[in-house]
């Protein structure tokens, strides 16, 4: 083997094995080849047709029109094809008895997820590269500026990567094929609504002759609420920064969720996710507090508070679905005593530790927001946000704990502990629509006769928190739910913390290395 080949081999050693395999398959596969050829053909036809039909002198519009359509084709084809391709492959690899043998190698779940993601990035780059010459041509045809082209391509690229991460999570989920298809359909609808509208907005801005900065501002304005206090350049860039931070957080959390799903149940699979969530919470919180103080605008801290309340309310349902007993592998690494044990408890996989971790984060979120309000930054809107956030978290905690209580009440082994969250969600759905339905049927006068009559029947439904008139009562209900849930599970929670101790000196396992015979036990 030549030294050059050796150097190449050494370089390839540093690459992610999964990415290497996926890229080899992409390179040798016919599907991707035909896809790329098809796209290049379509682009050539489209640009050629546009040039021919606009050769009569309207040159200013040609570049803009061509760019808008090319960008639309590029974004939608990547958004639909790349996540579907990567997610479908992963789902096929993990389907029941067809489970791919990659999952019983020494390769870590983190490498598997990053390998899949890298291959998605490479595939997206490949598709983008087929469009770049034509997109560059639109610049020379005039009507669109370079910063718009660059900014919009970056946005599309990031969106595709995000969607791919979502597809990886869906592909890795241990649910049936039917459920995966159902969930994928939901995500696709969301994507088409979220990203599709963004793309349409951008194309329409570019189509009207907007510049890159304007296009991005329109985009951020479309995705988030309008920036308070005008649309000065700094504000626009702050919003873009917010958008990037938000996307990064979602990407990081999706990555950690996918890794946690692929990690063996016995391992401390939640640690990475919890640490990432805490870091995101801290960084975003620091940013939100700073912006609130600098601009004396409650918008940022309110946004942060409600966003994380929603995340934590949902997290409670996943928390109760974690293992109801700490595995021996977790317990083996428990420090003997003191704050190290507490820290290990909060970061160890297990329903009790997850509940405590998210509860602590929720309380800190409310505390920080309240302190910002107490120091005079912002107005009564902040108080409303704190109330709504507290209510959301209390409802989330309450229903998830009820799910936990129901599962623990069932005979042992009847249902797996991972169903606790699902039971809690079921109770949430029942409590949300039950009183409303009963109200409409049994007390139609009170329900229908006034415009706000139905609000009296929203007990148990977190949406009730949005109505000022009923918020107080429903907050009390949320408090009763969560306190009741905590009381009902208090003994179990306490036992869990007590069981989180290092095991007594483990006996060294005798290993029989000599040749033996088959033996029957029992």
């Amino acid at each position: 083997m030549s030294s050059w080949s050796l150097r190449l081999e050494s370089l390839s050693d540093r690459l992610n094995p999964v990415a290497v395999k996926e890229l080899r398959q992409i390179a040798e596969g016919r599907f991707i080849l035909f896809l790329l050829l098809g796209l290049v053909g379509a682009e050539s036809l489209f640009v050629g047709g546009t040039l021919l039909t606009n050769s009569s002198g309207q040159t200013v519009a040609v570049g803009r029109v061509a760019f808008s359509f090319l960008y639309g084709i590029l974004s939608l084809s990547c958004l639909l094809l790349v996540p579907a391709y990567i997610g479908w492959r992963l789902a096929a690899e993990r389907y029941g008895k067809e489970m791919d043998l990659i999952y019983i190698t020494a390769i870590s779940p983190r490498h598997i997820v990053s390998g899949k993601l890298l291959s998605a990035v490479a595939l997206t780059t490949l598709i983008f590269s087929t469009f770049l010459p034509f997109l560059a041509l639109t610049y020379y045809l005039r009507g669109v500026d370079l910063s718009s082209i660059f900014g919009l391509l970056v946005f599309s690229f990031v969106t595709v990567v995000m969607a791919t991460l979502g597809a990886i999570v869906l592909g890795a989920l241990p649910v049936s094929r039917g459920m995966k298809v159902f969930l994928s359909g939901g995500v696709l609808l969301f994507l088409l609504q979220f990203a599709g509208l963004g793309f349409v907005a951008i194309i329409s801005v570019v189509g009207r002759g907007g510049t890159g900065g304007f296009a991005l501002a329109a985009l951020t304005g479309g995705l988030m609420s309008a920036p308070p206090g005008g649309t000065g350049t700094l504000r626009v860039w702050l919003h873009i920064l917010f958008l990037i931070a938000g996307l990064s957080i979602v990407a990081l959390l999706l990555f950690q969720i996918a890794v946690a799903i692929l990690t063996p149940a016995a391992a401390n699979r939640s640690r990475g996710f919890r640490l990432s969530l805490a870091v995101c919470w801290l960084l975003c919180g620091a940013g939100a507090v700073s912006l609130t103080v600098v601009y004396s605008s409650a918008f940022y801290i309110m946004f942060w508070c409600i966003l994380f309340s929603l995340v934590l309310a949902a997290a409670f349902f996943t928390a109760v679905s974690e293992r109801h007993r700490f595995g021996s592998r977790i317990v083996r690494g428990v420090p003997a005593r003191g704050w190290r044990r507490w820290k290990a408890f909060l970061l160890s996989s297990g329903a009790a530790s997850a509940l405590l971790f998210y509860l602590a984060m929720g309380m800190l979120t409310l505390l920080v927001t309240f302190l910002v309000y107490a120091f005079g930054f912002g107005d009564n809107d902040i108080r409303d946000s704190v109330e709504i956030s507290a209510g959301l978290m209390m409802y989330g905690l309450g229903y998830s704990l009820i799910g936990l209580l129901i599962l623990r009440s069932l005979p042992k082994g009847r249902l797996h502990s991972k169903r606790s969250g699902l039971i809690g969600l079921g109770v949430l759905v029942l409590a949300s629509i039950g009183p409303l339905t009963l109200g409409a049927l049994l007390a139609p006068e009170a329900y229908w006769n006034t415009e706000t009559g139905f609000r009296n029947f929203l007990m148990g439904n977190p949406i009730a928190l949005m109505f000022d008139s009923h918020r107080g009562a429903y907050l009390v209900l949320g408090l009763v739910l969560s306190a009741g849930g905590l009381l009902g599970n208090a003994g179990w929670l306490f036992d869990q913390f007590e069981s989180f101790r290092p095991p007594p000196a483990t006996l060294k396992r005798a290993s029989d290395t000599s040749a033996g015979k088959v033996e029957a036990h029992g």
Binding site: I26, E28, R30, L101, D512, V518
Partner: protein, 309 residues
């Protein structure tokens, strides 16, 4: 290296695919894992390979639980499934190269390991062929090669001989013997029991998820009291001899066969010896007394009912 299956259970709803089975096997020996279709062999093997989780129970590989330390188990086990999962658009060499990378082989070490394995399994000439284009036999070889890439001390083979031609079967048998001599603990399931009898040291028989019998092959055969069969030929008075045989309490069946009589009697080799002594002492001129060796297939047929869940 010792693999211990402890009170393993795997339920799919109301179906008990594996129902509280326990056995163990160790290095340097080949254990046959035998049972009718749907007996729970594949499920047990998949749990051993960490591809599935049990409802209850555990498997220890040299003391390490496959549930608590699956990463350790994965390094120790090479698993050959009954069917190689579909891999399109990748050559046999790249496929093995990927698994070598996945097990941490780097640089020239990786290249050497892959080449050695290709040579060992006879895949060198087919290395550039796509996996999807390989014949069933070659795919089986590739599967064995993949399982051996990281030189695991435990090898689990699920129906490796199915679909192989006679020559490939003989080669597989030789390969397994060689691996066993190298000190690997091998667990193999197959429906071709006559072949298993020849190479296996131990046998584990299950049906409907329950363990029926396990131990060294000789002991399992010996344990099968129902199946002792001898061929007896006397010099004269064959009809009277047949009637006399049917009078002996331990004789269950006596069927004339050619110039002699096939006798099925309760018990093992000791009972056979006792019968011969009795016949001689009664004055029968026994000129041929041949113990038909019980094989794994007969034991299997005797103790299983062929029922599926």
């Amino acid at each position: 290296m010792k693999v211990e299956v402890r009170s393993l259970k795997r339920y799919f709803g109301s179906t008990k695919a594996v129902d509280d089975i326990s056995f163990s096997f160790s290095s340097g020996r080949i254990a046959a894992f035998v049972g009718p279709n749907g007996a729970g062999k594949t499920t047990t093997m998949r749990i051993l390979a960490t591809l599935d989780d049990p409802t209850d129970g555990d498997i220890l590989i040299d003391g390490h639980s496959v549930l608590e330390d699956p990463e350790v188990a994965r390094r120790a086990v090479g698993f050959v499934p009954d069917r190689l999962p579909e891999h399109s658009d990748i050559s046999a060499h790249d496929y093995l190269d990927f698994f070598a990378r996945a097990f941490g082989f780097r640089g020239t070490g990786r290249l050497r390991v892959v080449e050695e394995i290709e040579e060992f399994t006879g895949l060198l000439k087919l290395r550039q062929k796509k996996v999807s284009d390989l014949s069933k036999g070659m795919k089986q070889r590739l599967s064995v090669a993949r399982a051996l890439v990281h030189d695991p001390p435990v090898l689990i083979l699920d129906e490796p001989a199915s679909g192989l031609d006679p020559r490939a079967r003989v080669e597989l048998r030789e390969l397994l013997k060689l691996l066993s001599e190298q000190g690997k603990a091998v667990l193999i399931s197959s429906h071709i029991l006559s072949e298993l009898s020849e190479i296996c040291d131990d046998a584990v028989i299950i049906e409907q998820g329950r363990l029926l019998r396990c131990g060294p092959v000789d002991a399992v055969l010996e344990e099968d009291h129902l199946a002792s069969q001898v061929f007896v030929r006397v010099l004269e008075r064959r009809e009277q001899f047949h009637e006399a045989l049917l009078e002996i309490p331990q004789v269950e069946e006596a069927i004339p066969s050619g110039r002699g009589i096939e006798v099925v009697l309760e018990g093992g080799q000791n009972e056979c010896a006792r019968l011969l002594a009795q016949l001689v002492s009664e004055g029968w001129k026994v000129v041929e007394f041949r113990h038909r060796k019980t094989d794994l297939e007969r034991v299997f047929m005797n103790i299983t009912r062929g029922e599926v869940q």
